[in-house]
Amino acid sequence: MDSSQDYPLELTGTNVPMVRFMNVSKNYGGLKVLDNLNLDVAEAEKVSIIGPSGSGKTTVLRMLMTLESINSGVIYVDGKPLTHMPRGGKLVPADASYLRRMRASIGMCFQSFNLFPHMTALQNCVEGPIQVLGLSKAEARDRAEELLSMVGMIEKKDQHPARLSGGQQQRVAIARALAMRPKVMLFDEVTSALDPEVIGEVTNVIRKLVSEFRLTMLMVTHQMGFAADISDRVCFFFSGKIEEQGEPKQLFGDPKRERTQQFLSAVKDAV
């Protein structure tokens, strides 16, 4: 059990990362899912996380979204602690309302889309801005329509999710997350549940995001080519640790570690 008081209340100075994992560990019962993770993501940096299943990569995103608690360490977002809050000069585990305030700067897209089935595409995209950010209906609608146009879904804005294909649902889900104006966007295997022929429509939307927005992005993916194209950095996770990380060209072209080489050749064989 480490004490959180050894961690800074706030990250200051130049080059404060947008996201910092500091000695973060996570167990499920006796199983160590993440082992003393240290990871910085700079503002507007795009980081892809790859690795075999069970390596803890999705857990990284879920912890950042505060969907999972952490067992030790501290996560900072934009210089402020996310998992903890300052109280009396030290950090204590964050309560629900602090978490809610902090996670507003983080948006997430899920493997299974998770659009709200009782709402149209447009209603899905205005729900958060109206209910959480307190935008007026007109403002929220303008913002949502702009984003739905960007993801190419404006013609389908009045459809319910059940009438949309997987690729279309995922594009709406991206617009819904962006409508909250997050600083950090998390993509958790967003193409894994899609038919091969529609994967491109989703990855193209993400490419567009990369070129048009100054967003910090963390992405767990099995699409190696896509990860290579859009990432500034690729992290290879193996049994709860970053086994190797580097620029995509280096990591995919010239992996140093044996496990990375094995994983990449296994992935290549599968294609």
């Binding site: 889309f113 709200f116 729900e127 209910q131 959480v132 319910h160």
Partner: protein, 221 residues
């Protein structure tokens, strides 16, 4: 006496009984829904005492007979200083009883909403209350409608027991007509038919209609 003559002679009593039954049904249904939703949500509370309180309510009202509950509310509560008319005691007892069953239905339906829906609402930073009433409950509502069809029929049938504390509803009228005429087949046959018709042609179609309308709205087939 022919059935026709029987109905001509006693029809108005059946009608007035049916009206009382119908109003008992409507009010008991309201009580059922309010208690089912409230205690269903309490069962899911993070606070132990709220969960325990809800479990105790459900245990009590599911674990004892409705007739005893009606008697208790009508005959025992006055001893504790709360006197209720047969009408109020009646729909209250029936509603509290079915509400206990409904609470489990509500709880089950809420838990049946896919986990991803909670997570998506959470990821939008929605407060727990908004997550529930904007996102989860509307979906749970659709899931719980078929069992609600059952419960509402139970409410209707439960109101027949209110005749035991002297409320002049349908069953009460049927018994009186039987005592007057000794025409048991007609007297109770008519009551049977009216209960059946109410359940079959009002409650069931109403619940089914609501369900298919909501399903169409979600475009889920």
């Amino acid at each position: 006496m022919s059935l026709w003559l029987f109905l001509v002679q006693y029809g108005s009593r059946y009608l007035s009984g049916s009206l009382v039954t119908a109003s008992q049904f409507v009010l008991a249904s309201l009580v059922t829904v309010v208690f089912a939703v409230t205690f269903g949500l309490l069962l899911l509370s993070k606070t132990y005492w709220l969960r325990a309180f809800a479990a105790a309510y459900i245990d009590f009202f599911r674990g004892s007979s409705l007739v005893v509950q009606i008697y208790w509310i009508f005959f025992v509560l006055p001893l504790l200083g709360l006197s209720l008319s047969p009408f109020i005691a009646g729909f209250l007892a029936v509603g509290l009883n079915t509400g206990a069953y409904g609470a489990e239905v509500v709880r089950g339906a809420i838990l049946a909403v896919p986990k991803g829906q909670w997570e998506a609402a959470y990821a939008l930073s929605m407060s727990p209350a908004k997550r529930m009433y904007r996102i989860i409950f509307p979906q749970a509502f659709l899931i719980m409608l078929p069992p609600w069809g059952n419960l509402l029929i139970d409410v209707l049938k439960g109101t027949a027991l209110v005749s035991l504390i002297g409320l002049a509803e349908l069953m009460f009228q049927a018994k009186q007509i039987n005592n007057l005429t000794f025409l048991s087949a007609q007297a109770f046959g008519a009551a049977l038919a009216i209960y059946y018709l109410l359940a079959r042609f009002l409650i069931t179609p109403a619940v089914r209609g609501l369900e298919s309308r909501l399903r169409r709205k979600m475009s889920r087939t």
